[in-house]
């Protein structure tokens, strides 16, 4: 598939060394994007009540976690043992594996900014995109979304809730992008040239150690532009040629080495060079 170039390319640089694995980003994401918690009981479904319970949040393979924090280990035993935490949002790949496979154009990469969209009202729930994504960034609504009484009052009016049976994923808090562009228009500024920080994702906002930096990778005035070019910057499984827009950085070599497969040494398969833009 041909890669599409954008004037504005939203991306992230995540400093793995700063991440403490607290999970605040996951909570922030959950709240911002109206991701339903997992409940065992469905009070509105009598058939369900007659059969058996739904999965609760203890089944991590069925929860919806647009942003998921992985725990990395250097594999050594004490006292050399080290861990690191790696938050994984959707990589918003430049050459996404998911977009060309969707049979109904329910996911696209065509909007200025380079965010891979997910059109949930059009998604038929075939899960082919999930099979395609090696980052496990896509999630399926296995059950009807239910917010326990009272929690529904906290739903964000900006983000549409999704029904059962569709795939969803991180959108870089797309409603915030729309808000930032609206604000720029109101202020008489160019919505295609937002200043650094005018548009920020919930996870980057909430991170207590500021491990996540968000911005336009193509704009030299944005911090991410430089950070992504840092000597310790890398992207996940870059050799596959997916060209992700999320960068990681770590001073620890073992962490960087866990970003790709090095079991066999060969030239990268159609992968673009390490630097972007």
């Amino acid at each position: 598939m041909q890669m599409k170039e954008f004037k504005v390319k939203w991306g992230m640089v995540i400093d793995v060394d700063k991440c403490t694995g607290c999970g605040a980003c996951m909570v922030g994401c959950q709240v911002e994007n109206n991701i339903a918690p997992m409940t065992k009981k469905d009070p509105y479904n009598y058939v369900q009540a007659l059969t058996w319970d739904r999965d609760d949040a203890s089944n991590k393979l069925k929860t919806l976690t647009w942003l998921y924090v992985y725990e990395l280990s250097n594999g050594k035993s004490f006292p050399e043992h080290e861990t690191a935490y790696l938050p994984r949002p959707c990589m918003q790949c430049g050459n996404p594996a998911c977009v060309p496979v969707c049979p109904v154009v329910a996911t696209e990469k065509n909007e200025e900014g380079g965010i891979v969209s997910q059109v949930t009202p059009r998604c038929i729930g075939c899960r082919y995109c999930m099979a395609a994504c090696p980052y496990h960034a896509r999630y399926f609504n296995w059950w009807d979304p239910i917010w326990p009484e009272g929690m529904d009052k906290g739903l964000s009016p900006s983000t549409a809730v999704r029904p059962r049976g569709v795939v969803e994923k991180c959108s870089f808090c797309h409603s915030r992008y729309l808000d930032a562009k609206d604000q720029a228009r109101q202020d008489g500024n160019d919505p295609m040239d937002l200043p650094d920080g005018a548009y920020n994702t919930a996870c980057a906002d909430i991170c207590p150690t500021k491990a996540i930096t968000f911005g336009d990778l193509n704009n030299p005035e944005h911090k991410v532009h430089e950070l992504a070019k840092g000597k310790n910057a890398y992207r996940l499984i870059e050799k596959l040629g997916l060209d992700p827009q999320v960068y990681y950085t770590s001073e620890r070599e073992w962490v960087r080495k866990l970003g790709d497969n090095y079991n066999a040494d060969g030239g990268a398969h159609g992968a673009p060079s390490n630097s972007h833009g």
């Binding site: 496979v101 049979p103 109904v104 998604c123 075939c126 099979a131 049976g165 040629g241 497969n261 990268a268």
Partner: protein, 413 residues
């Protein structure tokens, strides 16, 4: 009781016995319907599928039955387009099996798709770059072709055929059957290929990704070859099973051996390319993305024995058995080879579906196990029961086997 409905000059078991058999099949079918109801009403969360295994037993089952149902289009192609007359003795059965397989696959897809009421979006918002779009188009169109091919056989039912209009209509359909066989062969070839292409295009999944020719990855061609290499022999196995159950001879061995020869030839071509493909993937592509052949396997469940079984025991071995006349002409060995080939193609579809997504591409990720639960088994078995019901009804009331009377009731032949 219903003997007036039987095909001309044939005998069938008593109505009571038949009802008992249908009652058993119906009970199995209803068990599946219960599972299907839970899936449609409560959600796909009811199954063993999860975010790592969005594809699982259902997709494996679909791909396997579609491959095994390939006997319909391939035999149709050989019979109507290449005019191999001998195949008319088994062609009706291939159509019925094809219909059961494709209708079954569609039923399973209704359950597997999260929003079945949006299934028509494949036509309304088609993504022409997606192999799955092509699969949706071709499977639905080909099912219609199979129904058109099945209808004349139903219309030839003894009592129905007495009605002049139906008789004439069935005759006209027969006259034009070459056209539908041609359309069917075209549609089926493409979607068999697209099912393989679906995996070959997955750039993010090194286990499945393949280079290819133009827009088609090599898996596209391999899936076509493996389907035509096993579909005909599956038809032979079904015919033989029917013979064992009914205690009658339904297809002459010469026709069976011809089907086996055709399957064996295609299977040999398939194995030749499959081995080259696997070699090129293991030594060329995998190292280019920093992976080794050994990385692709894990423990017992995802062990190398799976691929070995698929390619050697259930690939090369049956291919040799089916092409060597002295082996092929022994019924026991022919059926053994057929069973091995069918297991091989099913294993291939399983490996491409499950192992592809089980392999952790991110180095810090881990292999996950996938266990289908009873809902997936019950609904899949429901489709098998559906197939048995359709074939049982067809056998009892329709003139499926042209040689049946000659082989069973006419002495001296």
């Amino acid at each position: 009781m219903d003997s007036k409905l039987f095909p001309e000059g044939t005998q069938r078991c008593s109505f009571g016995q038949f009802m008992l058999w249908m009652g058993f099949l119906g009970a199995v079918f209803l068990w599946g319907v219960y599972g299907a109801t839970l899936v449609l009403y409560n959600g796909i969360g009811t199954t063993g599928l999860d975010n790592y295994f969005g594809f699982g037993a259902w997709i494996t089952f679909d791909l396997a039955v579609i491959a095994l149902g390939a006997g319909a289009f391939f035999t149709g192609l050989l019979k109507y387009i290449l005019k191999i007359k001998q195949l008319e003795k088994i062609i009706n059965l291939t159509v019925i099996i094809g219909f059961c397989c494709y209708a079954g696959a569609m039923l399973i897809l209704v359950l597997d798709v999260g929003q079945p009421t949006r299934a028509w979006f494949g036509y309304w918002h088609p993504n022409v770059h997606s192999m799955l779009t092509e699969v949706i188009f071709c499977i639905t169109c080909y099912l219609i072709v199979l129904i058109i091919e099945f209808v004349p056989l139903i219309l030839e039912q003894k009592q129905l055929n007495k009605i002049p209009f139906i008789h004439a209509f069935a005759h006209n359909l027969h006259v034009n059957m070459a056209l539908f066989a041609g359309i069917g062969a075209f549609l089926s070839t493409f979607h068999q290929g697209s099912l393989g292409g679906m995996y070959g295009v997955l750039i993010g999944r090194p286990f499945a990704f393949r280079e290819g020719f133009f827009i088609w990855p090599w898996t596209f061609f391999l899936f076509i070859l493996s389907a035509v290499g096993t579909g005909p022999v599956f038809t032979v196995l079904v015919a033989t099973l029917m013979e064992k159950i009914t205690g009658k001879k339904l297809v002459d061995f010469k026709t069976k051996a011809l089907m086996a020869k055709i399957a064996g030839s295609m299977l040999s071509v398939y194995m030749f390319f499959k081995i080259i493909d696997t070699w090129a993937w293991a030594t060329g592509y995998l190292p280019s993305v920093g992976l080794t052949f050994d990385d692709m396997f894990y423990g017992f469940i995802y062990g190398k024995w799976l691929m070995f079984s698929e390619i050697v025991i259930c690939g090369i071995v049956p291919a040799i058995m089916l092409v060597v006349p002295s082996i092929r002409n022994r019924p026991g060995l022919l059926y053994t080879a057929g069973i091995l080939a069918c297991i091989g193609v099913s294993l291939n579809r399983y490996i491409f579906t499950v192992q592809t997504i089980a392999f952790p591409v991110m180095p810090f990720d881990t292999w996950q196990l996938y266990y289908p639960n009873w809902v997936e088994y019950a609904t899949s078995i429901m489709i098998i029961a559906f197939g048995f019901i359709v074939i049982s009804l067809s056998y009892r009331y329709l003139p499926v086997f042209p040689l049946e009377t000659k082989l069973n009731y006419q002495s001296g032949d």
